[in-house]
């Protein structure tokens, strides 16, 4: 065998810079050697081989470190020995006979020919310069380590061992990608070959296969939640490359936005919004308190009766028509202090998904919306925490791994420290008042394996406040839930959820006399839900399952507070009910353009004994005098059942990948209602279960919308209209007494409602300037047309609801100057809400009083408000104990004295017209946030 070449190389530790030069020479068969590899380390072996052969070897120690030499060689040539010894390694060798030198080579082979293009490149004059090429060889790989290392910290990977006999222009690279933290495979990861643009996507097991050109390549991996990474690969042959990728927490937000941006156009379901707690941290709000529920009001179709009014009104629905879930359990009052602050720890809250249109088929029981609030999973790798100190509350959240990579615990706590400030104020009348609140959450998350994980959440919140010195009010939410998600095969996943929620309020009355009492109300519900998702084919994905709920309501107990009190104990009988549902939904992809989401749900409800119920004379107004019969029901006996099918249909048609039209229809039943005789929600409103006399509310909604994204999803634009009807919604007779009323049906009116509107939203998701503009035109009207004047409101005509605000504009903008400084703005404009206005004054009982007739005939002046905030991120030094974030905000910068209400009081016998406002002056605040 004759080889003709000339070769020179330097081998130095830490660099691999090879220069190939071309010479022509020959060498003969080398001498025979006898050597044994037994009980020798590889370096001893190569040392002996060097001695015996008389050749000098050039290699790096760590290349041969792992070579196991086992064979015995008798009279073998050095070429034969090296062939066998290096056969299972990625090392090649080259013997330079003339100089008695042997070069070991990593991956590469020594090219003993110029590449075919070599001379042509240099000889522009043409001329037939025949170059003898060995096959159709790819050009050799030249690679400069030093240059590459400035680009990436990831070490260069060399794949395969070049085989002289099988040199190809491209090789197959395969491997598995796992999450570096959890070890879980990363599916749907896009691996892109730079330059060529070729892409491979990992399968469910995180495996991929890619054809790469021989030699130096850069592959880039990207997926949602994974830190983008690049890997330099030198391909010498087919081979495997397993990647361990880091989760990308910093970039998650951006990635989520990206995913959302597409879903805005592509999903069949419309009218859904997602707000991330972290993502909304810059939005200035009152007293610097983060409040995703308040941010929700800046989205189209979501509003409230006013600043400081508890509860959300979604698309003209009442406040009791929203299903608010915290980790699958219902939270009856997710706010503190009359709705001004959220009862959620911002650091433990991940996000809220809001469904204003047809909600996913697993949800039901409320007419207007579903607010699905999710908490974060704790960090399974290291202990971390976040906290904040603001003018009203202190927040702290801790995440700690219990078993690394497997299970974690998250604990959050939050409290208001208004009370001590209150006490230290030099204002006599305030000393008897108090207002305080706190909430706490604990969440455990455990991952058994790839196919099964469980999490449990427990939450408690409590508010105390006093209006007069003798009455102390309190309310609390308590909930717990367990969720087990597991895989039932390649295509089916199941989620089993068990939850329990409790809401109660109390009044503690302690006056001078013998009338001290304690009043309690509570509602408790337990739910079990099993939801399955099966991917039948590319065209069909079905969601199905069932849920069952048990309610127990204690409508009110009064107990004497102390032994002096001669208050008679009063107890209104407990109410109980079962609510169940069977549901199935199919996401049906008819074509690339047309997608249907068709769901059906059968809702079932049964009011149960033990209870007594009155029947009333037909046609007569319900009152104590028209009671016909009183029926007693035994324990567990069904008093009355209600229910029916619910449809959840939505369709999407894509005109273009970033432009779609969507339509939906849904109907729903609601079996529990709030009883409130206030114009806005009050924390002591009670929930009432449907029974013999109170029917469930029913709702129907149809929507149609256009969705368009621009500029690679940087801008989202949507325009959506809706029309809604509601039947059997509740209202009350004038001056109804609802608390502790055993026959509350005598005070209840059931009527109809209609709401319609057009919602416009323009969102900019990325860039230094981001935010959104939303505008809604909507109307919301109700009608109560009973048989007698007592049972009619406004003579049985439709009247605008308390939250009917036709024009509603919100602008939220965020501008990032640098990595550390950003400013935010929040602007809101709304038509003034309707209020009931008197029609005259009369004298009675030596005093003047106003008289009212038509409900909500008058509007208070329009509402507008501008909030500004500056956000300062702490510096990003690596070794700091904690990362800090400071927000300086001014709420209501314009100092607009927005009227909250106009009302009339009789004071010392005289009537006075008063206008109240909640935050009539600019309110500055500074909040310090920290993270460790």
């Amino acid at each position: 065998m004759t080889l003709s070449f000339r070769f020179h190389s330097f081998i130095k530790k830490g660099s691999l810079f090879a220069i190939f030069l071309m010479v022509q020479f020959t060498f003969s068969q080398n001498a025979s050697i006898t050597i044994s590899g037994d009980s020798k380390t590889s370096s001893e072996f190569f040392g002996e081989l060097e001695d015996k052969s008389g050749y000098s070897f050039f290699y790096l120690d760590d290349w041969i470190e792992n070579i196991e030499v086992t064979g015995n060689f008798v009279d073998a040539s050095i070429t034969e020995i090296l062939h066998i010894v290096l056969s299972d390694t990625s090392l090649n060798f080259y013997v330079l006979e003339e100089e008695n030198r042997v070069f070991l080579l990593q991956n590469t082979v020594v090219y003993d020919e110029l590449p075919p293009s070599f001379y042509r490149q240099n000889d522009s004059t043409g001329g037939e310069q025949e170059v003898m090429a060995r096959g159709n060889l790819p050009p050799p790989t030249f690679y400069n380590d030093e240059v590459s290392q400035t680009r990436e910290n990831l070490p260069v990977v060399r794949v395969g061992r070049a085989d002289e006999q099988n040199l190809k222009s491209a090789y197959k690279l395969s491997g598995r990608v796992v999450n570096a933290q959890t070890g879980a495979p990363i599916p749907d990861l896009a691996i892109r070959v730079q330059e060529s643009g070729r892409v491979a996507v990992t399968n469910e097991q995180g495996e991929y296969e890619l054809i790469l050109p021989a030699g130096y390549n850069v592959i880039a991996a990207s997926a949602m939640g994974i830190r983008d990474s690049e890997q330099e690969v030198i391909m010498y042959n087919d081979g495997t490359l397993n990647l361990q990728l880091q989760e990308s927490l910093e970039q998650l937000q951006e990635v989520v936005v990206e995913a959302d941006a597409v879903s805005n156009v592509e999903d069949a379901v419309s009218g859904s919004e997602e707000i991330s707690s972290e993502g909304s941290k810059d939005i200035p709000l009152v007293l610097g308190e983060r409040n995703i529920l308040e941010v929700a009001k800046a989205l189209p179709g979501i509003s409230s009766a006013g600043e400081g009014a508890t509860g959300l009104n979604v698309r003209g629905g009442k406040t009791d028509q929203n299903l608010v879930l915290l980790d699958d359990a219902v939270i009856y009052n997710p706010t503190h202090f009359f709705g001004i602050f959220q009862a959620l720890n911002p650091f433990t809250t991940e996000k809220v998904n809001i469904y204003k249109g047809a909600p996913p088929v697993e949800f039901g029981g409320r007419l207007s919306s579903v607010l699905d609030i999710e908490t974060k999973n704790g960090d399974t790798e290291k202990i971390s925490g976040e906290g904040s100190i603001g003018p009203v509350t202190g927040n702290l959240a801790l995440e700690m791994p219990l078993k690394k990579g497997v299970s974690s615990l998250m604990i959050g706590g939050r409290g208001a420290y208004a009370d001590w400030i209150l006490q230290s104020l030099d204002e006599e009348s305030l000393n008897n008042s108090e207002a305080s609140f706190f909430d706490g959450i604990i969440k455990y998350h455990h991952k058994f394996n790839e196919n099964s994980e469980i999490r449990g959440t427990a939450y408690y919140s409590k508010d105390n406040f006093s209006i007069t010195s003798d009455s102390l009010y309190n309310y609390s939410n308590r909930l717990g839930s367990v969720r087990w998600a597991h895989k039932l095969g390649e295509k089916t996943t199941g989620v089993l959820t068990a939850s329990n929620s409790n809401y109660n309020f109390g009044i503690d009355y302690e006056g001078e006399g013998n009338s001290n009492f304690e009043l309690d109300y509570s509602i408790n519900e337990s739910e079990l839900r099993y939801r399955l998702n099966t991917r039948l084919s590319d065209a069909h994905t079905i969601d199905y399952g069932l849920s069952a709920k048990y309610y127990a309501v204690q409508p009110g107990n009064v107990e004497p507070k102390d032994s002096d009190s001669n208050v008679e104990p009063v107890s209104v009988d407990q109410e109980q009910a079962l609510e169940g549902a069977l549901f199935i939904g199919d996401e049906f992809k008819v074509s690339e353009r047309l997608l249907f989401n068709v769901g059906a749900r059968y809702a079932f409800y049964a009011a149960m004994g033990e209870a007594t119920q009155n029947t009333y004379q037909e046609g007569a107004p319900r009152s104590e005098t028209t009671v016909q019969d009183t029926i007693a029901y035994g324990s567990g006996e069904f008093i009355k059942t209600y229910g029916g099918p619910e449809a959840r249909v939505s369709a999407r048609y894509l005109f273009a990948p970033d432009f779609s039209i969507k339509a939906s229809f849904n109907n729903s039943y609601q079996f529990i209602h709030t009883l409130s005789n206030n114009t806005t929600v009050s924390p002591i409103d009670t929930w009432k279960l449907s029974d013999l006399n109170i029917k469930p509310q029913k709702g129907y909604q149809a929507t149609l919308g256009l969705f368009k994204n621009f500029n690679e999803n940087m801008y989202e634009l949507s325009l959506e209209g809706y029309y809604k009807r509601m039947d059997d919604v509740l209202d009350f007779k004038t001056g109804a007494d609802l608390l502790l009323n055993e026959n509350v049906e005598t005070e209840v009116l059931q009527g109809e409602g209609k709401a319609y509107g057009v919602e416009f939203l323009l969102k900019k998701n990325r860039g230094d300037l981001n935010g959104w503009v939303s505008y809604t035109y909507s109307r919301s009207k109700y009608r109560f047309d009973g048989d007698t004047s007592e049972e009619r409101i406004n003579n049985g005509e439709f009247f605008p609801s308390n939250f009917d605000k036709p024009h509603d504009l919100s602008v939220i903008a965020n501008y990032k100057f640098t990595r550390r400084y950003s400013v935010s703005m929040n602007f809101a404009y709304q038509t003034g809400r309707p209020i009931t206005y008197p029609v005259g004054t009369f004298r009675f009982n030596n005093s003047d009083y106003v008289t009212f007739s038509d409900r909500n005939k008058f509007r208070i002046p329009d509402y507008y408000r501008l909030d500004l905030g500056i956000n300062i991120e702490g510096n990003h030094k690596k070794n700091k104990l904690a990362h800090s974030f400071i927000t300086i905000q001014v709420y209501n910068v314009l100092g607009r004295n927005n009227p909250y209400s106009v009302f009339f009081v009789t004071d010392d016998g005289e009537v006075k017209a008063l206008q109240s406002s909640i935050f009539g002056v600019p309110i500055p605040s500074i909040t310090y946030n920290f993270k460790f």
Binding site: F338, A435, N566, E568, T734, D848, L914, V921
Partner: protein
């Protein structure tokens, strides 16, 4: 500024008691409703089981917000020159009460819109009564049947030093009560308080202006004398009825006794208790319907909580047109079982070491030039002085103090021969009656 304080209170996270108000502004509203609206009939009657002359009040509602109940004294506006009450009373109606046992009591109009029973009578328990009204325009109205639900005896009415809800120090008046018969779950308390007023600047003499002709030329003519007072106006007694709705329910237990229920709180600074004070508390046992009417009316006219108002609406009264027309009638008629008791006390009984409450009216000692230019002077000179003494006397707004004394009133351009005070400071008849009530015990 009230708003600022409101903000501060919000800042520290407090629910605001009514009296503080968060950021409450009073609106200047003159009239309500629409012009074409007709005024509604307002009926008010509390018929009792005591043998007395029973009363029925009939009036009309008004579009005006303010029915001018202002009792604030303006020393420059002569008393009686404007209505302190501008309620449109309903005169000329025929009113009677009929029992289902056949009795019938006729009423006759006394003062305009106030109808008195022709003779004293008491409602009997167990009898259903209806009030029957025929208005001047011939429309007939009747009340729902009225029954005295029960009777409960006030066992004690007493006063104690106390601190109010809003932290004010003062005197609280409490009642104890024991049920006697019937259903006594619902109570309403009314009271009539009488207090003694002593004029702080009273002297035995006063101005007397006679033969006054302000238009005489070149100067007004008059005779001004200082004469002894002819009427007693140093000590007076004022009687005021309660204006608030004070109710109590023993919620579900008809036989329950009531102890230490507060019906009235008087702040320590209120001048009505600076001299002797008396209160007649009346306890009325109501029906549940009447109780809810008053409660609703009260709820609609107060604001406990600025975050959440009760939804107001039309309150249905228990008087309706006989012909079935749905005309809205305001007010309420009720039959109650009553019990009353009177209490007297002095400021010193509770605050022996404290200063008496200050007289609430400004009693600056004033002086003014005695006369003025003739009103008929064709070329009046602009005057730098306020009203002259004789004009003030003529308007009845001043009370004599003494001859001019530099120590009492500062020297100035508009000085006259006398010093005087606003009349209210020297004449208590502006604040009450100068006749000692029959029940008064010193």
């Amino acid at each position: 500024m009230e708003c600022k304080r409101g903000f501060y209170i919000i800042l520290v996270g407090l629910v605001l008691p009514t009296t503080l108000g968060a950021c409450l502004d009073e609106l200047e509203i003159e009239t309500l409703g629409e012009e074409e609206q007709t005024a509604a009939l307002v009926v008010e009657a509390v018929l009792t089981d005591q043998v007395i002359t029973q009363k029925v009040y009939l009036s009309r509602s008004s579009l005006r917000l303010d029915l001018e109940t202002d009792t604030i004294y303006n020393p420059y506006i002569p008393l009686g020159s404007r209505p302190i009450d501008s309620v449109d009373m309903e005169a000329g109606a025929t009113v009677r009460v009929m029992g289902d046992n056949g009795v019938e009591y006729q009423f006759t109009e006394g003062d305009e819109g106030i109808y008195f029973s022709d003779e004293p009578f008491a409602l009997d328990s167990g009898v259903g009564y209806t009030l029957d009204i025929t208005t001047r325009n011939g429309l007939e109205y009747e009340s729902d049947p009225l029954v005295v639900e029960g009777k409960s005896q006030l066992t004690n009415v007493y006063a104690e030093r106390a601190i109010s809800d809003t932290g004010e120090e003062g005197i609280a008046i409490y009642v104890d009560s024991r049920p006697q018969e019937g259903n006594t779950q619902f109570y309403r308390y009314t009271y009539e308080e009488t207090y003694k007023v002593v004029s702080p600047y009273w002297v035995g003499v006063d101005f007397e202006l006679t033969n006054y002709d302000p238009c005489a030329l070149p100067f007004p003519t008059y005779d001004l004398e200082i004469v002894p007072r002819e009427v007693q106006n140093q000590v007076c007694y004022n009687t005021v009825s309660s204006t608030s709705i004070e109710q109590f329910s023993t919620s579900g237990s008809p036989e329950r006794e009531i102890s230490k229920h507060m019906v009235r709180f008087i702040g320590k600074d209120n001048f009505i208790i600076s001299e002797r004070y008396s209160i007649l508390v009346q306890q009325q046992v109501q029906s549940s319907d009447a109780y809810s009417f008053y409660e609703t009316l009260k709820n609609f006219s107060k604001s406990d909580n600025i975050f959440s108002q009760i939804q107001p609406g039309a309150i249905i009264a228990n008087v309706n047109r006989k012909d079935g027309n749905q005309e809205n009638v305001l007010g309420y008629v009720e039959a109650v079982g009553v019990s009353d008791q009177r209490l007297f006390f002095d400021f010193d009984d509770f605050f022996p070491d404290d200063e008496l409450p200050v007289f609430p009216f400004n009693c600056n000692i004033l002086t003014a030039q005695e006369s003025h230019q003739s009103y008929c002077n064709p070329n009046p000179n602009p005057s730098r002085c306020a009203l002259s003494l004789i004009e003030r006397i003529d308007l009845g707004v001043v009370s004599y103090v003494s001859q001019y004394d530099e120590d009492l009133a500062p020297l100035g351009e508009c000085v006259g021969p006398y010093v005087f005070v606003p009349r209210i400071c020297g004449d208590c008849t502006l604040l009450g009656s100068n006749v000692k009530p029959d029940f008064w015990i010193e």
